[in-house]
């Protein structure tokens, strides 16, 4: 498959190499290592046969669950225009733009991506993507540690447990002390005392639980003792919430899935990373810069390359090489499609619909742990075990949310949900949880 050679081609190539078979290519490989009977794998399938195979596998997933799950990944409407432009083969099948002269397309889009993210977050420099939200948090902590040479890392407990697990994997806990700080009434404590041992303060806006607060004072307190402050954001609420830059944060990271990527079972998505120029030389991953060519024509190039692994090897700011460029292209085109009004509307409608849903739940005697300061996401209490409720709701056609605790479910609402879906969810939940 996909090998183009005809018999005539093979004859020509074999003659050039003075060989008579493909096996003759490998006389230098120890015989004991060679696979004599080949691989134990199924026979080739034609494309036509593959269609029915993969459609049948896909049909084993429960179809069309109405999504009320969030936790970083949101069922935001992804316009056809954005999908088809992102998947243009000139973008999708291109390599990393090391050769600037033939890569201006990708380079300019990544430059636009960086600029859009800086504008939206009030930062000065964004990189050209990291793997996902969770790994971006770990990379940001690493920047803070490298900058401050301190050992303490203060992390809000209001994070997706998976994100915390990634941080625990990637930050060496034999060297660095990660302190998880509990939220009080779903808010990060305003009076938390940072010390001069702390390298980083990491907090999510909104918190994983869906509650949001103005973090300006806390950031100010952290920065007063030289702590690098890191804000993890939900990009689809950027049209509604104050910017991390305006609250004083040094670094902004995000799970960028809701901007330009389908849910994709969690990947590929994109990790956003933006900061201030003073931290430029510690930033992980690729950065695109604007310059001029020999004719003074506007040109984009990969820049600050001396931070990267292919040049600095073990002294690099990170080991990242392959990133999530195509998903960054998706974010760029999606944000441009949305414009200021569209981004506002995604956030506004999500919050309004969540507000309606909370009222409906309360009216049906279903308790909400954080009804007041939550925005598009909130915690619903169940009398049955949450895992059972989620399964039973699934059987009724809803992805009810993410298990938060034994008797709590984290529920998310996006602009895509309709009043009728919300109403049905509420009555279904009442049936399921009372049965």
């Amino acid at each position: 498959m996909f090998v183009p050679h005809s018999e005539i081609d093979l004859k020509k190539m074999f003659e050039e190499l003075s060989i008579s078979s493909l096996d003759d290519l490998f006389t230098h490989i120890p015989t004991t290592l060679k696979l004599n009977d080949g691989l134990n794998v199924p026979p080739t399938l034609s494309e036509l046969e593959s269609i029915s195979h993969f459609e049948s596998v896909e049909s084993k997933n429960t179809q069309n669950l109405i999504c009320f799950a969030g936790g970083g990944h949101y069922d935001v409407y992804l316009p056809h225009t954005v999908k088809t432009l992102t998947m243009r083969p000139e973008f999708m099948t291109s390599y990393t733009p090391y050769q600037a002269e033939i890569s201006q397309g990708i380079l300019q889009i990544l430059f636009e991506y960086q600029s859009l993210i800086c504008d939206l977050t009030d930062m000065e420099l964004a990189n050209a993507s990291l793997y996902d939200g969770a790994t971006s948090v770990a990379e940001a902590i690493s920047v803070a540690i490298n900058k401050t040479k301190r050992n303490g890392v203060v992390v809000s407990n209001g994070f997706n447990p998976n994100t915390k697990e990634v941080v625990n994997t990637l930050v060496d806990r034999s060297k660095f002390d990660i302190k998880y700080v509990d939220l009080i009434d779903y808010m990060f404590p305003e009076d938390y005392i940072f010390t001069e041992e702390d390298a980083a303060f990491v907090v999510s806006l909104p918190h994983y639980e869906g509650s949001a607060q103005d973090l300006t004072t806390i950031v100010k307190n952290a920065k007063a003792v030289g702590v690098i402050t890191i804000c993890y954001i939900d990009p689809s609420l950027l049209g509604i919430l104050k910017t991390p830059g305006s609250m004083g944060f040094d670094i902004v990271v995000a799970e960028g899935q809701s901007m330009g990527s389908p849910l994709s079972f969690g990947g590929p998505t994109v990790g956003w990373f933006a900061t201030k120029k003073e931290l430029a030389r510690l930033v992980p991953g690729r950065i695109i810069g604007e310059t001029r060519d020999s004719n003074h024509t506007k040109t984009y190039v990969m820049t600050l390359r001396a931070r990267e692994q292919d040049i600095r090897r073990e002294k690099a700011s990170s080991n990242i090489c392959t990133n999530q460029t195509l998903n960054a292209v998706g974010s760029t085109i999606h944000l441009s499609w949305l414009g200021p009004q569209g981004l506002y509307e995604i956030g506004y409608q999500a919050i309004q619909k969540a507000s309606y849903m909370k009222q409906q739940l309360l009216d049906h005697d279903i308790n909400i742990s954080n009804p007041n300061n939550s925005l598009r996401e909130f915690i619903v209490q169940t009398s049955k075990p949450a895992v059972d409720v989620i399964i039973e709701m699934g059987n009724k056609g809803f992805l009810a949310g993410i298990k938060y605790s034994d008797n709590e479910i984290l529920v998310a609402v996006t602009e895509k949900r309709t009043k009728s879906e919300i109403d049905k969810y509420v009555t279904s939940l009442q049936e399921v949880d009372n049965a």
Binding site: M13, T27, E90, I106, P268, K298, D310
Partner: protein, 501 residues
């Protein structure tokens, strides 16, 4: 064939620069429309809410489509031309995989959906695991690492945890060849190891004597790709793995060059304990302009319980998630780059036994053929049979005519070819590294060689100014100093710089 024959009509258009999306913005224009809010409006009071609108460009949908389509016309890609790019395996990416990756619940499952409702997705990962462990000769795999470098780090963290649990925390040295990819030492450092470099011998392979002298009670392991970055099969691989194993270390296979050996031999049979594969190289998933990739890690059975979890297992009820008991912890927020894994599975199913058994052979055939014709134009770095890629050098041309590998690469761009990888591996002067992959025709390989011959003659001309190459592309050589010095990384930065200077 003055511009490279049928391989290369010039694919890119350019001319005047394309404005940024911000420069196309006019107040009041918009592409997006949403349904009217269908619930009653409530007043939302939260101190984190802003009063103004976010800063974004305002463009019509047609302007948006034209802008990004015009940018597409300024971008080289596998679907447009030939990338003889060493170490990158830029093979054809089957279009059919796009169709499968777009199927409803593959594309649109929320990652927190319980296994009960995502049996199809779990089956995809399980089936791909079976292919992968058979191809690499391993026992179990994780699909969490979203790229090769993350796969390397996963492997190293597994080595670290395994050694710790066996009371061998003193073992802190990871040996890496001086020809290795930069990610190897960077990943080893990130995992908290000391990096020890082993040299390359005159034939282009790991210097066994040097390796013996470096290995001791502190050796945690070795990272190696085979064939190595010079495109040569490490013939003493069994001896190398024995040296490491005898000293209680583990041996890690960097899957960067796996394409050379698929169906020929297997890392697991060579003694490797851990293998990462780059699905975006060997298994034909698109590079996406730099990503996404997928770097699944496969291990021998004794390391299964160290894998990042959860991993997919099959039981009487179907498929489920299993959390390994001594797991190093998650490497990704959820399940890695699932849709990339799915595309790789599509590729493997299409190839099947017939295609996979001969995959490495045809990749090597193309490279060996190209090396043979190119060796008549410029010398090869090693006088050894190459595998799926090979390294040539223009160090003599640099001495005689000041022609650098960089110049040759830039001149090739002008003729419709991507440059080969240059200046890598670092140990070879003025290196040009070619990897044709198995999906290119012999005509295209001939065209590349012919073009290379023509440009080398051209560059040796009397009045040639090397800096002028490339000449026929949307832009010429960029000034790389300006953005590095002035951090022009955001729109407006460059204009501001011009105003202030």
């Amino acid at each position: 064939m003055h511009s490279g024959g049928n391989a290369s009509s010039l694919p890119l258009v350019g001319g005047a620069p394309e404005p940024t999306i911000n420069q196309l913005s006019k107040p009041g224009r918009r592409a997006s429309r949403f349904p009217k809010l269908d619930v009653p409006v409530t007043e939302i009071n939260n101190p984190a809410i802003r009063n103004d609108k976010p800063s974004l460009p305002e463009v019509s949908e047609h302007d948006l489509v034209m802008h990004y389509s015009r940018l597409a016309h300024r971008n080289f890609a596998v679907d447009v031309g030939f990338y003889p790019l060493g170490s990158c395996t830029m093979k054809y990416n089957p279009r059919f995989a796009d169709y499968v990756a777009g199927l409803n619940t593959f594309a649109n499952s929320h990652p927190a959906t319980p296994a009960t409702f995502t049996q199809g997705n779990l089956e995809v990962l399980h089936e791909l695991e079976k292919f992968l462990i058979e191809i690499t000769g391993m026992d179990n795999a994780t699909f969490q690492p979203p790229a090769g470098a993350s796969g390397e780090l996963t492997g190293l963290l597994i080595i670290k945890k395994y050694l710790e649990e066996n009371g061998l925390s003193n073992k802190k040295d990871i040996i890496v060849p001086d020809s290795a990819h930069g990610t190897n030492p960077a990943s080893a450092k990130m995992a908290g190891f000391n990096v020890v470099e082993v040299s390359t011998d005159i034939r282009g392979m790991v210097n066994i004597e040097d390796l013996r002298s470096l290995v001791n009670e502190n050796t945690a392991g070795l990272m190696l790709t085979n064939p190595n970055t010079g495109g040569l099969f490490e013939e003493n691989i069994m001896e190398i793995s024995n040296i490491i194993h005898e000293n209680g270390g583990l041996i890690y296979y960097d899957g960067a060059n796996l394409n050379a050996i698929v169906g020929v031999c297997r890392p697991g049979d060579m003694g490797f304990d851990i293998v990462h594969s780059n699905l975006h190289k060997t298994f034909a998933t698109p590079h996406g302009g730099g990503g996404p990739g997928s770097g699944p890690v496969a291990v021998k059975g004794f390391l299964k319980e160290y894998l990042p979890g959860p991993i997919v297992v099959q039981n009487s009820n179907g498929y489920d998630w299993y959390s390994p008991k001594s797991s190093i912890g998650r490497m990704h927020g959820y399940h890695g780059n699932f849709l990339v894994a799915l595309r790789a599975l599509v590729y493997m199913k299409l190839l099947g036994k017939e295609g996979l058994d001969t995959l490495g052979s045809y990749a090597v055939l193309n490279a060996r053929y190209l090396s043979s014709v190119i060796s008549k134009i410029i010398p090869l770095a090693y006088n050894e049979p190459c595998m799926h890629e090979f390294v040539a050098t223009v160090k003599d041309l640099k001495k005689s005519h000041k022609i650098k590998a960089y110049d040759v690469g830039k001149a090739l761009l002008d003729k419709g070819f991507h440059s080969p990888t240059i200046y890598f591996p670092l140990i070879i002067e003025e290196a040009l590294m070619f990897e044709p992959t198995e999906t290119q025709t012999v005509d295209t390989l001939d065209d590349l060689a012919e073009t290379l011959k023509l440009i080398i003659e051209e560059l040796q001309g009397e009045d040639v100014s090397l800096e002028e190459y490339p000449k026929n592309l949307p832009v010429g050589r960029p000034n790389e100093l300006i953005p590095a010095k002035h951090l022009t990384v955001n729109w407006g930065d460059f204009e501001l710089l011009e105003l202030t200077e």
